[in-house]
Symmetry: C2
Subunit: 319 residues, 2 copies
């Protein structure tokens, strides 16, 4: 079974509609709707055994599973800079689970919707013999042709990231806050400016190295990442202590950070560094380069090395 | 594990949004969008072992599984009388499946989207150890406040149904055509009329008896079904021959017919009986009554008996 073949099939010549502005290959599809507004449209699933465990030492409480399912899709809406509106949710339960499990799962779904003012508009429930899965579709909205995509980064753009990176598996991957407020703060930071200074954005699911790679690939750019500038989560140090791998490995490859990775026009990025007031930090971690200069990490000693292809093997792909 | 408890949780006080006009409890959620238009929003999943089999004598080819996943969600859009616009699809594959399987599954998804002019806008792929599932979200659109819901039937309305009923498991449940064209023909039949003559609609998934029951429940009506008028699929006769149960049992209970069941204002329904030109037949199978008169079936001998609570136990529920 090759997911990549299926990915290619989804991306190659998908059935279109006159209202579809952006199809497979970005964090959300974008549809034109009423004059002046676009829709962001997303589906995302989390599956027991791949995205969460219900047994063993890393077992997640069902409430956290429900939260994660909605927050993960909301993180993709945040990556477009749009605001979420409504969710529909399909839950597949195992027949042997308790009432309390189902209700706690729902409570987590509902809590995330409430916190981010997302209408829980409908759903579908199945009970089967197989693994628990929660599939969430989200609708968001924003000004026409203003969605951040993956393909707009230009050489010279600064690479910024929200929050801290690495060690998400220690707990953050279940409890994270989608960066919706941060995205709105970025959109309104320069409200007078006629054009967005955010040229491209992605949320970190596969890991910093791979998701930077996605931005470079889609934008036809290279990048230099500054290892000393990376914002390191305490959980990344803990993970490194546990498994003996380097902290940098964890920051580059752990994935499911659900932070926003942004390509920002340099003058605006410099203003952001001075005037950014949001509680969540925003850190410059590198610079986009011409594609011919490749993708590299600059280490403390001043030497650069190729950006390693490390990432979280969660066996899931957006199309 | 009680799905009904979870259903109640979903329906009770779901997080709302000012744009949400109709939430859980109907075939689709309805959102107000631009002036004069509403959105229909839906999620639906099919799971191996519950909605299709991949092994044994009833094994479905993956192409038919992909078709069914989209068509089933499109059938819910048809039940609102809206037109579909775009789909996003989450596929969960088993790791041991072949490339050919994945590509054929995608071909079925794509074929249904193409036929019904639905943009295949994006997706999510997971490979896991568990059962294959395909989860489809659909967006549709129609005139503001014109969506058919389940709660508008009135005593005196005629109960109409498209197509033939029963025996769907013989194959139709995989290959059916969602009744989108029929819904549009109904909407344009009386285009001058300021108000819709379709008072309520549902697509038959649980089986005729249960889905009539849903219309009665939501509309606070009773109903008299005319057993002699029921349009019987050839497959219902075949199923009855195979298992020795009555043809009527199959027509009332088999489910997954994916036909539209409509409550229609009597004068318009009479005009429809004369002037309906669509290739798919439209049959009067009963009349709505005051709730106090209950839900009954009139048999050939003129006697009435209570509508039996028979239905397809597919262990899935819309919320």
């Amino acid at each position: 079974m090759s997911e990549l073949d299926l990915l290619r099939a989804f991306r190659l010549d998908p059935p279109a509609h006159p209202w579809l502005k952006v199809g497979p290959g970005h964090d959300c599809a974008i549809l034109s709707w009423e004059q002046g507004r676009d829709l962001a449209y997303k589906i995302d699933q989390i599956v027991e055994g791949t995205h969460f465990l219900l047994e063993g030492s890393e077992a997640a409480a069902p409430r956290r599973v429900g939260w994660k399912a909605v927050a993960k899709a909301a993180s993709d809406i945040a990556a477009t800079g749009f605001a979420p509106v409504a969710a529909v949710v399909a839950v597949n339960l195992r027949r042997n689970l308790s009432d309390a499990f189902a209700l706690e799962l729902h409570a987590g779904i509902s809590a995330c919707c409430r916190k981010y003012r997302i209408a829980l508009a409908g759903g579908d429930l199945t009970a089967s013999a197989s693994a628990v899965s929660v599939c969430v579709s989200l609708l968001g909205q924003g000004a026409a042709s203003s969605a951040w995509l993956r393909n707009g980064a230009r050489p010279g753009d600064w690479l910024l990231v929200t929050g801290d990176l690495g060690g998400s598996r220690g707990g953050k991957h279940l409890d994270f806050e989608p960066r919706l407020a941060e995205a709105q703060a970025l959109r309104t930071f320069d409200a007078q400016s006629p054009k967005s200074f955010v040229h491209a954005c992605i949320d970190i699911t596969d890991g910093l190295a791979r998701d930077v790679g996605h931005l470079c690939q889609e934008s036809d750019c290279g990048v230099e990442l500054d290892a000393d500038a990376l914002p390191i989560a305490a959980a990344a140090h803990e993970a490194a202590q546990r498994d003996g791998r380097s902290v940098l490995d964890h920051v580059l490859g752990d994935g499911e950070d659900f932070e926003l990775l942004l390509a920002v026009e340099p003058a605006a990025a410099a203003r952001l560094q001075i005037n950014w007031k949001h509680a969540t930090k925003l850190t410059r971690i590198g610079t986009f380069l011409p594609a011919s200069e490749g993708r590299v990490v600059k280490r403390s000693n001043g030497r650069t090395e190729p950006l390693p292809d490390v990432g979280y093997e969660h066996l899931t792909h957006e199309v």
